[in-house]
Symmetry: C2
Subunit: 228 residues, 2 copies
């Protein structure tokens, strides 16, 4: 809960890795793998983070995050994903290219910078990969429904909303008619690129990219028999 006293880039990277892998704990080797280093180095770092109260650590037993560790990790992930949105939406990078750059940008320390970046990007809730962006207070956006990319073929659903407030996305969804309240059925997932084909009540079909599907929140329906 205490303000996460300035961490080095390396410390932040380890924290992110523990956050990503600890359920609830993660071993030294797996952690070392994730941060591209050796187990012995990971041990050293873990012990430093334990002294700072960010991870709970027991020799030979692995590590997990403490509550303040979780807060600190969320802050790093927030910075990372906001930069990803910037790189993709403003600079036009492909969503597969943004990760490595964000990896560097995320370590620039300035709460004010992040506040303004967030505002500049219209406070997005999801990054270009569809992953949620922690809020400034450390809480996580919980989908008001299920993301369309997690719905199985054959499932019917009602559109609940958009994961993002960007004009581009909202315009697009409005233009193709995927507005809140409308009902659809997922008829196909193209294996090659994850494109979703959905169909409405009147039989009209529509193709949505995997990326778009991650930004559409839906409410799954009871499956209906075709002749009901």
């Amino acid at each position: 809960m205490n303000a996460p006293a300035l961490l080095t880039s390396t410390e932040e990277n380890y924290l992110k890795a523990v956050f990503a892998l600890a359920q609830p704990r993660i071993g030294t080797n797996a952690l070392a793998d994730r941060v591209q280093t050796k187990a012995s180095s990971a041990t050293d770092m873990i012990q430093r983070l334990a002294e700072k109260g960010l991870v709970e650590y027991e020799r030979y037993r692995g590590v997990g995050l403490t509550p303040s560790g979780r807060v600190a990790a969320a802050a790093v992930i927030r910075r990372h994903r906001l930069w990803e949105v910037f790189l993709a939406e403003k600079l036009g990078f492909g969503w597969h290219e943004v990760h490595d750059l964000a990896e560097e940008l995320e370590h620039v320390q300035s709460p004010e910078l992040i506040r303004r970046l967030d505002a500049f990007l219209d406070t997005p809730s999801y990054d270009p990969h569809g992953d949620p962006i922690p809020r400034a207070d450390g809480t996580w956006p919980t989908a008001a429904g299920v993301r369309l990319d997690q719905v199985p073929v054959g499932q019917s659903f009602a559109v609940a909303g958009a994961a993002d407030r960007t004009d581009e996305l909202l315009d697009y969804l409005h233009r193709v008619g995927m507005v809140p309240g409308t009902e659809w059925t997922l008829v196909e997932i193209v294996p090659f690129d994850g494109t979703r084909t959905v169909q409405n009540r009147s039989g009209r079909t529509l193709d949505l990219s995997a990326l778009a599907a991650r930004h559409v929140l839906v409410q799954p329906q009871e499956t209906q028999t075709p002749n009901a």
Copy 2:
């Protein structure tokens, strides 16, 4: 001329400092002051940079940049000033707040990032402080005239152009009538904040902030006797 093999952030900071202070050479103490360190550390670093061929160094005689050192320094300064423009124009930071943040952002290594950032900002030639931004090829924009902030009181001049292509600046200059070809005399420089008071032929006066003055390029005129 050779691609400036990846430098550490610290090396880049020393390079910038040498660039800023060497005319043509700079002593160890002054350099150490600039990068906030001690003379002994500066000596170490200088010797590293000399081994990499970026500075020419002679013991007890100070350092200067080599041609490839100048290219490398220009690249760092380009990154720094582009980020300053981004912070001021896109995120709304004041022009006095942008330096420290740019100091961190400038070290993110990615030519493609800088290319796209440059395009996103409409390839500016000057940063928010009015300092020129080196071009991608390492050349420097030379003012098509003299910057208004370098004109002495009493001098008459014709407006030659704007240092920047941003709509805000062009709109502003157009609105106040400082368009290319018009003639003015600088009647006062307010000591407190550097505001310039200028007067046109019909006696109308206009106040320009020091910042605006840095972005206006002018052609100085022969001084005229009042009753000519």
